[in-house]
């Protein structure tokens, strides 16, 4: 196997004295979609923030395309070709949709490429074109999520980090957004690290998955196999098989550690 595009080794990240990430390691191969699943508070956002440089790990390393980036500022990391779509969209509320997209391309010096990519994202999300001159703050949650993804794409990244793109959206919108995520991956060859609570959707689109629990990776496998696992079915997909209750559930949890 060739060296992964992103390699995270044994990172430990703290909020003051609180250890939120307790020695997490994972890899993202070039061109793949990798997902990290976890319940609320598991540490998914913290992992992404550590990767993109918003937070520095106390220990461990983050290697992107052969370069160690764990001490870099986020604007530097982004210039290396990694775009972060943060949890909660974080659009610039008083700028227009178009200006938001232009800010996504802030680091680029190829106006023709930027114009072309603007058309591409308008093609992915036609509603953004309709609302191009509206303030981003006036968009619905789903539209803001589309804008956040498009804005990250405008940087023409080689890797995208997506933090719970399905959060707070209707199933139909989630489906639409995930379809585009797959297209971005297939058509543009962008590697994707996707963090989700919505395990069902994430496991369907991703190649490989990790399960994060209270700051630790407790399971790692191909998504095909993860979808078959009893624990995943029960705790993340909400499918309960008859008899798999009570004591057994408790025992199952134990097997992850």
């Amino acid at each position: 196997m060739t060296e992964a595009q992103l390699k995270v080794s044994n990172i430990e990240t703290y909020y003051g004295p609180i250890m939120a990430i307790r020695g997490v390691s994972f890899e993202v191969p070039k061109g793949d979609i990798v997902t990290i699943l976890g319940a609320n508070g598991a540490g998914k956002t913290t992992v992404l923030k550590t990767v993109s440089g918003v937070m520095d790990p106390q220990k461990g390393s983050v290697t992107f395309e052969g370069r160690e980036i764990q001490r870099m500022d986020p604007d530097k990391v982004m210039r290396l070709g990694m775009s972060h779509v943060p949890e909660g969209r974080e659009v610039f509320p008083f700028l227009s949709v178009r200006e938001n997209l232009r800010m996504g391309a802030y680091t680029r010096r190829d106006p023709d490429g930027v114009a072309k990519d603007l058309e591409t994202v308008f093609g992915y999300f036609p509603v953004l074109k309709e609302r191009a001159d509206q303030r981003a703050g006036s968009l619905s949650g789903g539209e803001q999520q589309m804008l956040a993804i498009s804005r990250a794409l405008m940087a023409n990244p080689r890797m995208m980090l997506l933090d719970e793109p399905s959060l707070g959206l209707s199933p139909k919108l989630v489906k639409e957004i995930f379809d585009i995520i797959v297209r971005i991956n297939k058509e543009r060859g962008v590697t994707i690290l996707l963090v989700e609570q919505n395990a069902n959707m994430a496991l369907q689109v991703a190649d490989y998955g990790y399960v994060l629990e209270v700051g630790r990776i407790v399971m790692a496998d191909t998504c095909e196999r993860l979808l078959q696992k009893e624990d995943i079915k029960e705790f993340y997909l909400g499918i309960k098989e008859e008899g798999a209750r009570g004591q057994r559930r408790w025992k199952k949890r134990k097997t992850w550690r």
Binding site: V54, D75, M78, P86, V91, F92, L95, E99, M103, Y106
Partner: protein
């Protein structure tokens, strides 16, 4: 007559604009804003009166010097205190202001100076006579605000400054050099104060305390406009300028300086978010 009030109000507006720009971007209030105004006036005076420079050259030099000084302040001092309690930062900027006044009195002396400008005549517009001094303030303010408006809306770095003020974290994610942008915003605020100081110089004369009273009223103007709104700061400045003018004219002595604050208090009681402010708090 009315023009005088508007002109003085423009000065308050420009200084208030400096408060608001820095506050929106970095969430700190720079109480040394008035002293940057004073420095601008002194540098221009030094270049024009002592070195015999052309007025406009001296003007340009003062604006550039004070702008660079503003950026340097951000880099060397204020960057270090981001995240400290507001109170500490307020004390720091007040202290900086006092240092600037000391510096000015050591460098230029504590006399009162008169800056000769090309604006000592009168202009007749539509039958009314206006003093060029006051007219130059209004025209200068309009030009400066127009330039800033175009800069913030039509240049890449200008829009990036807005973006950084609206959502600093997202700006980082876009690869916007946030720290550089902060220094740039400080430079613009300082330059705005310097322009205000030079325009004001022929009216109030130049001395080391000229910024103090202006800064207090400009602060009131910024609050009146809903601290955080740029048009609000300018309108707030002009409103305060006019209130002062009318109070000085129609009310007994002493009311002139108090009237703006009385109006400010009334305003805050009725509409606490200010003229142009919104109650929604911005996200950090």
């Amino acid at each position: 007559m009315l023009l005088n009030g508007v002109a003085v109000g423009c000065i308050y507006g420009l200084v208030a604009l400096g408060f608001v720009l820095i506050y929106k971007a970095t969430e700190l209030v720079n109480f040394a804003q008035g002293d940057l105004l004073m420095l601008g006036a002194f540098v221009a005076y030094m270049a024009i009166a002592w070195w015999g420079w052309d007025y406009w050259l001296g003007f340009g030099l003062a604006v550039v010097v004070v702008a660079l000084f503003g950026a340097l302040l951000d880099r060397s001092v204020l960057r270090k205190v981001i995240g400290q309690p507001q109170f500490a930062v307020v004390m720091l900027t007040i202290g900086l202001g006092a240092m600037f006044r000391t510096f000015a009195s050591v460098t230029w002396g504590s006399e009162i100076y008169t800056l000769t400008t090309p604006f000592d005549g009168k202009t007749v517009i539509a039958g009314a006579t206006f003093s060029d001094q006051y007219l130059s303030i209004v025209v200068g303010t309009i030009l400066l605000c127009g330039t800033l408006y175009a800069f913030f809306n039509y240049t890449r770095i200008g829009v990036a400054m807005q973006a950084t003020s609206q959502n600093q974290l997202a700006a980082y994610y876009m690869g916007i050099p946030v720290k550089l942008i902060f220094s740039f915003i400080w430079a613009i605020s300082a330059a705005t104060a310097a322009v205000a100081g030079i325009l004001l110089a022929p009216v109030t004369l130049i001395d080391i305390n000229m910024g103090l009273a202006v800064a207090l009223k400009a602060f009131a103007a910024a609050v009146l406009g809903g601290f955080g709104s740029i048009p609000g700061a300018l309108v707030g400045g002009i409103v305060i300028g006019l209130i002062e003018l009318f109070a000085g004219r129609f009310l007994p002595d002493g009311f002139k300086d108090a009237a703006p604050y009385v109006v400010l208090l009334l305003m805050l009681a009725v509409r606490p978010q200010g003229l142009f402010g919104s109650l929604g708090r911005k996200k950090v």
